[in-house]
Symmetry: C2
C-alpha cells in the first residue's frame, strides 16, 4: 500500500536542527537536555557520544558544549566562551529571535514584557538578554501589579497560544503610548494539526505516532478520527502495528507528536511496508 | 450659592490652545476651519479679525496663515512655507504626534496602518506624512484586503474608540512579525465624562452646556441625571437658565460639551451668580 507522511509532523524545525547539530558534533556534551525527549537524548549519547551535563562547571577549555534548543542565559553563554569552551549553538532560531529582541529593545529604552513561564529554560534564557531587566507574566492579573514605562516591547514564549498573547497586548495598548508587539509564537503545533487535517482528505487510514501520555499526539489522532472521520490509530512505535488495520486500504497517512523522533517514525514506516507487501 | 466647574469640561486641550493662538494672531486667516464650531469662528473673525479661507492660493507672502487643530497635509504646509507665508501652527499636539510617527515609521521601513476616516481632515494630514504611503482603514474587513509588509506601525485617529482600535491590532498581531502600536487616541471625551461623574458626587444640581443636537453634551447630562441621579439640566446658554432649579441647592456643578466655547460657559456662570445672589 501507499504511505504518505503529513506535510508537517513530529519534531519541529528547531528540534530537528538541534539533533542534526548534535549528531555532527560527536564527543561533546549538551549543557542541559538538548530537547525534552529522554529516549532521543539516550540515542545521541549511545550513537554519537553526545553526553548531557547539567553543570556549567563541567565544561573546560577545549570541551565541546552543545547549547540546547531552548537556549541558555546570556551570562552562562559568556562564561562558556570565557573558558574557551568550544560552543556549538543549537538554540532554536525561533528562540534566538526573542533573545535578540529583548536585548535590542531593552537597550533602546523600552520596558520589556515577556509572556511566558518564568521557570521554563526558554524564558530564563530570553529574559537574561534584557539588559535592563524584563517582566515575565502569564496573565493580565500579573501585569496589573506592574509599573511600566510609556514604551513597551512585548515578546511571547514560542509555545504560547496567540489568543492568550492578545489578552496581554489588549491590556497594554490602551494604557501605554507605544506597545511594540513581536509575534514570537511558533506555529509548529498548529502546522502539525493542519497537516493531519489535510492528509486525512486523501488517506483512508491514519497512523499517529507518539507517547500514550502525549497530549499533542492525542490531539492529532482526534483530528483524524473524530473530526475527519477516518480510521486512525495512536501508537508508540512499530511494535504496536496491527496488520488488520490496513486490509482493503489504499493510502496510509502518517503523523507524529512533537516529541517523536524521526527514527521511531521510520521504524513504523518500515513496519507498515513489511506488513503490507 | 457655590458654583464649581468640572475638572475637565468643554473644549479639549488642543481646541483651547488653537483658539488662544488665533486670538494672539489678529489680522490673520485660518486655512480651513480652525475648529468645528461656527459661532466661535465667527467670534474670532469679529473680535480678532481672524478670517477663514478654504483656498490655499489665497495665502501670499507675508500673510499670516493659522493652521487648523486637525492639521493639514504636509505638501500644503510646505507650499505655505515656500511662498513665505507667515505660518502659525495651531495643529493639536495630539495630532502632530501621529503625523511624526507616520513619517518616522515610514522612513524606518514599516508599513503604516491608520485606523480612521480617510475623508477627515485630521487623517488626510496624518496620512500625508507617511513618506512611502499609508493604508487608512475603519474595519478589519478593509484590512483583510491589504497585502502588508512583515513590520507594521499602527496609529489611530485621535477621536476613535480604543475598543475598535484593539480589533484592528488583534487582526494584525498574529499575522505579522512586528506590530508597533502607537496609542494616539485622545482621552478628552472620556475625561469630560469622568469629571462629571466626580463632580456629581458633591454637587446637588448640575448644569451641562452645549448644543441641543450635541451628542457628547447629551452624554454628559445623562451621566449626571441617569447614572448619578442628580438634578441636572442641559442648556445652550445663559438665556435658558431657570431660577427655580437652584432653590434649596448649595453647590451647582458645571460642565460643557466639547464644542462649547469658554465664553458661553462664563455667561452661564455669571447668569447663575446673578440669579442666586
Amino acid at each position: 500500500m501507499k504511505i504518505k507522511l503529513a506535510e508537517n509532523y513530529g519534531f519541529c524545525f528547531g528540534v530537528k536542527r538541534a539533533i542534526k547539530i548534535a549528531e555532527e558534533n560527536s564527543n561533546s556534551a549538551t549543557y542541559g537536555p538538548l530537547i525534552h525527549n529522554s529516549k532521543e537524548i539516550q540515542r545521541l549519547n549511545t550513537d554519537f557520544n553526545v553526553a548531557l551535563s547539567e553543570n556549567l562547571a563541567d565544561f573546560q577549555t577545549g570541551d565541546k558544549a552543545v547549547i540546547r534548543t531552548h537556549g541558555i542565559p546570556k551570562n552562562e553563554l559568556s562564561e562558556l566562551y570565557a573558558r574557551n569552551v568550544d560552543v556549538i549553538d543549537a538554540t532554536c532560531p525561533y528562540v534566538t529571535k526573542p533573545q535578540q529582541i529583548c536585548e535590542e529593545m531593552s537597550e533602546a529604552g523600552y520596558d520589556i514584557v515577556i509572556f511566558g513561564d518564568d521557570s521554563h529554560p526558554e524564558i530564563k534564557g530570553v529574559k537574561s538578554y534584557a539588559t535592563y531587566g524584563a517582566h515575565v507574566v502569564t496573565s493580565v492579573a500579573e501585569l496589573e501589579k506592574l509599573h511600566l514605562k510609556e514604551r513597551i516591547a512585548v515578546v511571547a514564549q514560542t509555545t504560547r497560544k496567540v489568543e492568550n498573547y492578545l489578552e496581554i497586548c489588549n491590556y497594554l495598548i490602551p494604557r501605554y503610548k507605544e506597545v511594540r508587539v513581536f509575534n514570537t509564537i511558533c506555529n509548529a503545533t498548529f502546522e502539525n494539526q493542519d497537516a493531519v487535517r489535510k492528509l486525512a482528505q486523501e488517506a483512508d487510514v491514519m497512523i499517529v505516532i507518539g507517547g500514550m501520555n502525549s497530549s499533542n499526539t492525542k490531539q492529532l489522532q482526534s483530528i483524524a478520527y473524530e473530526e475527519q472521520k477516518i480510521d486512525s490509530y495512536h501508537i508508540e512505535g512499530a511494535d504496536d502495528l496491527d496488520e488488520s488495520w490496513f486490509e482493503g486500504k489504499e493510502l496510509c497517512g502518517i503523523s507524529a507528536g512533537a516529541s517523536t523522533p524521526d527514527w521511531i517514525i521510520q521504524q513504523v514506516v518500515d513496519g507498515i511496508k513489511a506488513m503490507t507487501k
